[in-house]
Subunit: 271 residues, 4 copies
Amino acid sequence: MKCPLWLQKEYLRSVIFDDETPAGRRFDIVLTIAIAVSLIILFVESIPALPLWLKISLGALEALLTVVFTIEYLARLYCAESRRGYALSGWGIIDLLAVLPPYLTYFLPGARYMLILRSIRFIRIFRIFRLFSFLNEGEMLLKAIGRSLHKIAVYFLFVLVLVICLGTLMFIIESGEPDSAFKDIGTSIYWAITTLSTVGYGDITPVTTVGRFLSSFIMLLGYTLIAVPGGIVTASFIDTTNDPVRNGRCPRCDAKVRKGDKFCSQCGEKL
Amino acid sequence: MKCPLWLQKEYLRSVIFDDETPAGRRFDIVLTIAIAVSLIILFVESIPALPLWLKISLGALEALLTVVFTIEYLARLYCAESRRGYALSGWGIIDLLAVLPPYLTYFLPGARYMLILRSIRFIRIFRIFRLFSFLNEGEMLLKAIGRSLHKIAVYFLFVLVLVICLGTLMFIIESGEPDSAFKDIGTSIYWAITTLSTVGYGDITPVTTVGRFLSSFIMLLGYTLIAVPGGIVTASFIDTTNDPVRNGRCPRCDAKVRKGDKFCSQCGEKL
Amino acid sequence: MKCPLWLQKEYLRSVIFDDETPAGRRFDIVLTIAIAVSLIILFVESIPALPLWLKISLGALEALLTVVFTIEYLARLYCAESRRGYALSGWGIIDLLAVLPPYLTYFLPGARYMLILRSIRFIRIFRIFRLFSFLNEGEMLLKAIGRSLHKIAVYFLFVLVLVICLGTLMFIIESGEPDSAFKDIGTSIYWAITTLSTVGYGDITPVTTVGRFLSSFIMLLGYTLIAVPGGIVTASFIDTTNDPVRNGRCPRCDAKVRKGDKFCSQCGEKL
Amino acid sequence: MKCPLWLQKEYLRSVIFDDETPAGRRFDIVLTIAIAVSLIILFVESIPALPLWLKISLGALEALLTVVFTIEYLARLYCAESRRGYALSGWGIIDLLAVLPPYLTYFLPGARYMLILRSIRFIRIFRIFRLFSFLNEGEMLLKAIGRSLHKIAVYFLFVLVLVICLGTLMFIIESGEPDSAFKDIGTSIYWAITTLSTVGYGDITPVTTVGRFLSSFIMLLGYTLIAVPGGIVTASFIDTTNDPVRNGRCPRCDAKVRKGDKFCSQCGEKL
């Protein structure tokens, strides 16, 4: 007796793991929708006063999806080239964690921990990226950001030191007031970050004249500093956008390249 | 007997549809003012406690404008090259919708639906653009944005995924507090968008220490990410501003062009 | 009998109107300090519960400064090359307005109007710019902004139309709620500007789910659009910073210039 | 008898002052951790309702750290090449101030002043920078900012003048309202800064129609102006990033340089 098509390992593998065959793409789309539905259930279930019939329907749908995800996980395990390799890989662990939560309900009654476990299912949404041909653009963007990561790290360290200084200073100025919202230095640093990043919730605001002077200074500083990482990324981005060979430099290692070169002679980067 | 000038189709058409003859421009200006006045009436009528005499005057003015717009619509229909073509075109439908609402009052008593219909009149304000010679600049701006649309789409997808992750995480952290403003995951995601975009209303704010730590992280992230689309658009804008021929590349298809070329040999774009 | 030095028109003129002689600079510095002190008095007097002795001292100091400014105005009138020309020039009118308010107290008793008149004195602080050699930098900045003014105007028109649309839409969505803060369309447009510009006061916030969805969209839009004028100005700025002759174009009229040219052959701009 | 190694001046100096030997780096890391712990104690102690046992433990740990810092200060004094030079240098004074506070408790009972003194210990955290090889990036960033400092100063002066004008105007408009939050001109200027910088706390908000119109204008202005310093820094940054020799100009003094030059012939800057 011949094994049915959907049980043959090679065929199953091409559907589940490959995203370039039509069947593989269809499988990815169905899976993405299933994950999105599972997420929406998670969001809706978090609303406190929900009618009973909706609670029960959502629970049933969630149970169904868990069964689907369990079958998918077992199928992946079954047709993976190396079962051990898949089970211990990043995606393998995430797929397992996405399936486990409902089964754990019988052992771990704490609803809080359940929520965390079920949120992990969210990570699977990243499979969505396989569906798009955006990746070239995204890669370019990440490259530009990656190349300026060092500069951004210095900038962040600078902002952090600034915020600790200004928060402490503000605590010294404002904490003397009765009913001050600047209760401790931690809160003051939180306020300084809120202000410097121009978010400005307004739950903590200065009331003394000196405090308002300092706040104004922090605001104008934040107003100016907000542009710096943009400048860094833009400068890097323009470099990435430019034709590397016309610049005469390798985009990865910055070594000189000649006009006809197809690969960098120093680091092998494709030009 | 000769037909009076203002009833001759050709003359009427040149006034109503053409925006380059002096009469056509004057007509456009008067029409734009009429639409603006109609809008201001809409805005003022939305104020709850209005004295009776003002309500009546506004109603009368609105009725007058409706008559004017009706005549205009009929005139457009009368002198259009193809009546059917105009009536079914985008502008034709908008012009009709701008005229209908007051007549519908007798049939549809719901004030809410009236408001929506009357708001449609607003779309006509876009006729204002015909008055300005700005269009070259605007086109250039839109081109620069259009060319970087793919990159911006990737960026938005990234921000969306980020916001869902951070919102869910924040719900797990903050929802345990009594009287927490993070009532459900949807609200938490809304909060995450408010914070990441540095808007910071302050109607929902974290109160736990861990929540404030995470908030600070989101703020600083938003503070850095805010600059990325700017970088993308700027890089594209600089490319658009530069003389394409001096760059030696076609601005549309990026193919190489020679110095004397007036059109791109690949896509026919005028250089 | 010889006229004393400080009454000779030429000497007085060089002190008052010239800002390159040492005496002229010293006069400018003293005048700037006097204006600043006058401003600080204006600010302090606006504080509601002020002790009587401070009120009287500030009043006396203000009276003294008014006498000084009156003498200065008369001196300017006395030594100006054309008295009529100075009196009717922009600075001449501002100088007069800066002097008048205290004298008008006897005729106009309304404190509110007084405040406006006295605020005009503030315009004189712009004389401060004469003290700095910043002007080259500032001129360059203004040039860069000026060259991209058309593009910024298009952008603003676009933002305005957007904000009116979104504000009206938000009013339709939110005004049905009891105790809604979206009282009329004007308030809703004000809210839309607050949100799009990422200011986010939090005095008006959406409470419905649909309203929060639309808000999130506006925030992310504002988050992206915030970068556009920056891109425009930056692109223009880079153009202004670059050596015009190396670009082979005149910075004013964009005509081609040759390498040795000192002036643009088309518009006479110095290169 | 031979002096033990850790008492030999040369060895001690290489450990304490040098950050390139392995022992010196280890010393720096330990010191940085000690300063960070001291800071965390400062933050935690600022929380109002702290259990007694924690207060005592923190006090003991702080006392221990003070002894460590005292020994470190004496060791620095002992092995410095010029004791007087170190004691009077910036770092020397900061190190002394970091050690003094606890000893001063016996003389100055005011807790407020203690807090200020103990905060100074914070400045020592800047030693952290010695641990990183970031400095090249940071230097480049600071250079780019430094080169555009003049332009940023002009921009700030402009923003300041704008904010004073708008704040005064807003006070005139809003102060007539009962229970207005615009209590005096100082508060109004503070509000104008909050709004222009897009922070928007919401503790002070306009309630009149005219006030909201002006606010909207300020927001849109701030929304546009926020990008200007970014443009300035970016333009400067791109200049700094570009290969100076290919630009044909020295990055420091902007003099022309030839292609093979290794140093600027005017200012000696290494190219």
